[in-house]
């Protein structure tokens, strides 16, 4: 497993009030994304454990785009990756933010 960590400044912070959200599963070509609230609200940390080695530059591009495009401030994101394609990673990250912003029932 390869471990990668990112700490990025986010222009927008995640909305909603849920404490956490989880999307996806760890399977071949898939990943799970766990989102938790953390401070400060202008920072997003992303920790990745991936089965696919040597894709650091791609991860870097994917997570930077994610933080630039989505309200990710104040999130601590943890990823277990089963070798997902970058488009799947981007989709799961977006789904995760949508989920943590969903109103609580």
């Amino acid at each position: 497993m390869e471990k990668l960590s990112f700490r990025l400044t986010a222009a927008r912070s995640a909305g909603g009030s849920r404490a956490q959200a989880i999307v996806g599963v760890v399977a071949s070509g898939n990943l799970e994304v766990l989102l938790e609230r953390a401070s400060p609200t202008d920072t997003c940390t992303i920790d990745i454990a991936t089965a696919a080695h040597g894709f650091g530059a791609v991860w870097d591009a994917v997570v930077r785009d994610f933080v630039a495009r989505r309200p990710a401030g104040g999130l601590r994101i943890s990823i277990n990756d089963g070798g997902a394609r970058p488009d799947t990673v981007a989709l799961r990250l977006a789904q995760g933010v949508r989920k943590i912003e969903e109103p609580e029932r």
Partner: protein, 304 residues
């Protein structure tokens, strides 16, 4: 006042994740998870093999309400390592069943498993035994343990043994129940005995329709979360417990069944013997037509 409302969205049970199944099964918003992913209670074994871990180790447990009634729920994630039982995965289910005994609350197990995880086989096998014991112990107190089977991984190996100890089983056509999987049978007995790539053969031997017809499952439902929900509500209305009489009745039923169908070469022969009009058409029938055709199925109700 208790709010009772289902999530009114069409959801394929076969396709859904463990978490989606729970959300669609219980009253909207009523689920509360134990040992959630944020606690990162992961398998201690997988890292040794340099394999990816999952924060919930492939099983979600917790409590919720079903049509207003409190229930305990466990759902396996069939896509993570084939939903297989490992040490943590198994311990979560054992603990839930022991809690059920203490709380006197019914349990729903949403099976989706290939059996025991190869990388932690000893711990997994032990877990299966502990779970089976815990199921029987909680059933003896009058609590129901209902299994729901219709996931991608089916219900194989140790999972099928646990299913065999449940009070009732709800199955969809997609659901498969068998101790040995198709590949295992083919590997051990040869392709002449069982061609694991012949999917029609796999389903007519292990699939939900056949299991329902021979009394291996009690309720047959569409591959729809709401259908599973309704069947679970109905199943929990039946209170049976578990004592020597029940076990003896089950033993007798199985002996009768073996005598009646033991010589059959293929599931279709069994359906023919059951007196089904057009047995070869069974796999193609939609649910309502199938249920009509299944009126003469082997019944497990006495035994469970």
């Amino acid at each position: 006042m208790t709010q009772v409302a289902a999530n009114n969205v069409s959801l394929s049970w076969y396709e859904a994740s463990a978490r989606q199944r729970i959300d669609a099964l219980v009253d909207a918003g009523s689920f509360c998870e134990y040992i959630g992913p944020e606690l990162r209670e992961i398998s201690p074994h997988l890292s040794i093999f340099d394999l990816p871990e999952q924060f919930d180790d492939g099983i979600v447990i917790g409590h919720g309400r079903l049509d207003g009634t409190p229930v305990l729920i466990a759902a396996q994630e069939g896509r993570f390592m084939g939903g297989a039982f490992g040490e943590v995965h198994g311990a979560k289910l054992t603990g839930l069943l022991r809690a059920a005994r203490a709380l006197r609350q019914d349990v729903l197990i949403l099976f989706d498993t290939g059996g025991v995880r190869l990388q932690e086989a000893n711990a997994g096998e032990l877990a299966i035994a502990e779970i089976m014991r815990a199921v029987i112990e909680v059933r003896r107190t009058g609590v129901s343990v209902v299994g729901l089977i219709g996931g991608r991984a089916g219900c194989y190996g140790g999972g099928s043994l646990i299913a065999g100890t449940c009070s009732r089983l709800i199955v969809s056509e997609q659901g498969r129940i068998s101790v040995s999987g198709p590949e295992v049978i083919e590997t051990n007995r040869g392709i002449e005995e069982f061609d694991s790539r012949d999917r029609a053969l796999v389903w007519r031997t292990m699939g939900g329709k056949h299991r329902y017809l021979i009394g291996g499952a009690d309720t047959f439902v569409d591959d729809e979360a709401l259908a599973f929900r309704q069947a679970a509500i109905d199943a929990l209305k039946i209170k049976r417990g578990c004592d020597t009489n029940v076990l003896e009745a089950e033993q007798n039923r199985l002996e009768r069944r073996l005598q009646r169908f033991g010589e059959a070469e293929d599931a279709v022969d069994i359906w023919q013997t059951l007196g089904i009009d057009a047995p070869t058409e069974i796999p193609a029938l939609p649910t309502d037509a199938f249920l009509r055709a299944a009126k003469r199925r082997e019944n497990a109700d006495d035994a469970r």
